[in-house]
Symmetry: C2
Subunit: 365 residues, 2 copies
């Protein structure tokens, strides 16, 4: 992406800084860093972005310095030595100028020690949590981002379809999951967007949120949740399926949940609130008598983070807007019967929605 | 593993509590939780373990409750609602009894908000950081752990060998890495133990710590670092190789670094300090004239965490002991030539060492 794209994003930060009367921001959230720097980092690497109205300074580990200098649009890059507990000392020069200023930080992403260090170094500074504002800058996707998300979704779809095709009685949960994970990586996914899993039979309704060595068999429901990261952007899809016969109860549960999910998706449009969308799913599940077996949210926005705004859950007041991307994933977990969750990615359009995930919603794989 | 194994581990915590005069510990580090509960959790799941001299209480997300009740040796398990920011409120009952007591926490693993919450709820409590002590409990591996680590190492070896066999000129870095990742998952690895990567040519010496779409070609060195998690335990191996011809400089660099790595490994035995081992590698590299091109540590312990004690780096005073497991991985990154790092996992034995990783150290794949 062009440096202009990133400069526009930085303008967004600077507007937040003006509104919140901040002199400088210290960003440490990985999603923020990817969004504003454009630089892919190994998942174990740590970096820091400093933004004021005049300057932008990027602080990376020494091991990442040369690459950042080669690949990043930001020209002021400094490094801290790796494996030094006191890595923030490279910021001392800034801190000397910064006493008595107002600093924005992403509190949920700061560990206690870093926060404590900042407080000590900047004894007269006032800290403001801007984590939510930074997240909000990312909820409406640009055309370039939507194009990347489409490719990320394609990768997840393709991998899900390969896994569904491969799944047979006797195969282990982790073997099927491995096929999906490989399919994503082969297609250029950087990583899975979270730990993908297939939970079969009892594991589905417990639920067990990882793939074990349990073998698949008929008369059991299998719930598979997965997604990848392509050029920094996450995809996320869940399908529920059987590798053979199902009981009438399992069939009914499957088609009930599918109907609820489709009804919920049909409600999507700019102007509706996240809480209203959640209510549609929750109320429909309640009316089917499954009310107590739907223990999670109805959906969530996604982008650089696998979970970002808007969160589709009880009472949430966020208003859906054009070019938001989110999942709709109601689920019912019936002990002794099985769990059904069907999750699709949806783009909010001018006057409604477009379902991005294409994998068929079939009970039999 | 048997409940007795975990009870013995909890005894270790209680001895630390006695020594540090603590009434209760609140453990939140994922590695601690796996070590003391034995429960595998999806990488996105959060849980908390409370330990006093009399009680053990495990706190999990509502979605994980039934599975924890089925699979965990701990019988006192309570749950917090998912997606509630104030999830710690389930601990209020404890907090009411706990005012004016001494609490051990794992500070580096606590984010600011959680720490702040605890401080508010337990206004009269005294907090002590026990992160290092908890990590130290895991540095000497038991026979059962060593057996699992051998299998984890086998998986990494096998995957590395598949990748080396597959690597050909024209293949992209991420395609080769995908093969290694799939090989590990097929063999039952829970996940990679970190983000595996292959960095070729310029990417090796920058270094670029992820796999890109750059194609492999002769006269370039390729550095591949990877590992898996098997039954909770990490493996870690690096090989450097070429897919064709190499220059005399590249050859010399390869055999120089290999000699340094082997010399360093030969120094391993109970009683030597981590700093002395590091000095052997660093001094040898210095004498070869590569001193300024070795920008990282010489090695690290590993187990449930990919990096745990002992850290083999400058000035570290930890003394190596029987049944520690660690890596030795000196590396030299020469701009314009290439990078060479060779990393093996080593078990410290009664009177020396045993190299666990078996993949050959060949310049040509």
């Amino acid at each position: 992406m062009d440096a202009m794209v990133f400069l526009e994003r930085i303008e967004g930060v600077r507007k937040v800084m003006e509104a919140k009367e901040l002199d400088v921001c210290i960003l440490t959230n990985r999603a923020s860093l990817r969004y504003f720097t454009g630089l892919r980092m190994n998942t174990a690497a740590f970096s820091i972005l400093l933004i004021s109205q005049e300057e932008i300074e990027y602080v990376v580990a020494r091991l990442d310095l040369k690459r950042a200098e080669r690949d990043c649009w930001i020209k002021d890059i400094i490094s801290f030595p790796e494996d030094t507990p006191d890595y923030l000392h490279v910021l001392n020069d800034f801190f000397t100028q910064w006493n008595q200023i107002r600093v924005g930080v992403e509190l949920p992403e700061l560990n206690y020690e870093t926060y404590h260090y900042l407080q000590e170094k900047l004894a007269n500074a006032r800290f403001t949590n801007i984590a939510e504002e930074m997240g909000q800058l990312r909820t409406i996707k640009s055309d370039v981002e939507i194009k990347i998300i489409r490719k990320s979704t394609y990768i997840a779809d393709m991998a899900m379809q390969e896994a569904l095709k491969a799944a047979k009685p006797g195969m282990k949960e982790y073997e099927v999951t491995a096929i999906a994970r490989y399919a994503m990586l082969k297609e250029g996914a950087e990583n899975p967007s979270f730990e993908p899993f297939l939970a079969s039979g009892e594991n589905s309704w417990l639920p067990q949120r990882y793939s074990s060595d349990k073998a698949l068999k008929p008369y059991e429901l299998n719930l598979m949740d997965m997604g990848g990261i392509y050029q920094g952007y996450c995809s996320d899809i869940t399908r529920t399926f059987s590798v053979g016969e199902t009981t009438p109860e399992q069939k009914r549960l499957f088609y009930d949940v599918l109907a609820v999910q489709q009804e919920t998706i049909r409600s999507l449009r700019p102007g509706i609130s996240a809480g209203e969308v959640d209510y549609i799913a929750r109320q429909a599940i309640h009316e089917l008598g499954y009310g107590e077996y739907f223990p999670h949210l109805t959906g969530h926005g996604l982008g650089i983070d696998i979970h970002e705004g808007p969160i589709i859950d009880k009472g949430r007041t966020d208003i859906l807007q054009k070019n938001m991307v989110l999942t709709i994933e109601p689920g019912v977990y019936l002990p002794g019967v099985g769990a059904v969750r069907i999750e699709d990615m949806v783009l909010i359009t001018e006057d409604g929605y477009e379902i991005l995930t294409q994998t068929k919603r079939n009970l039999i794989s």
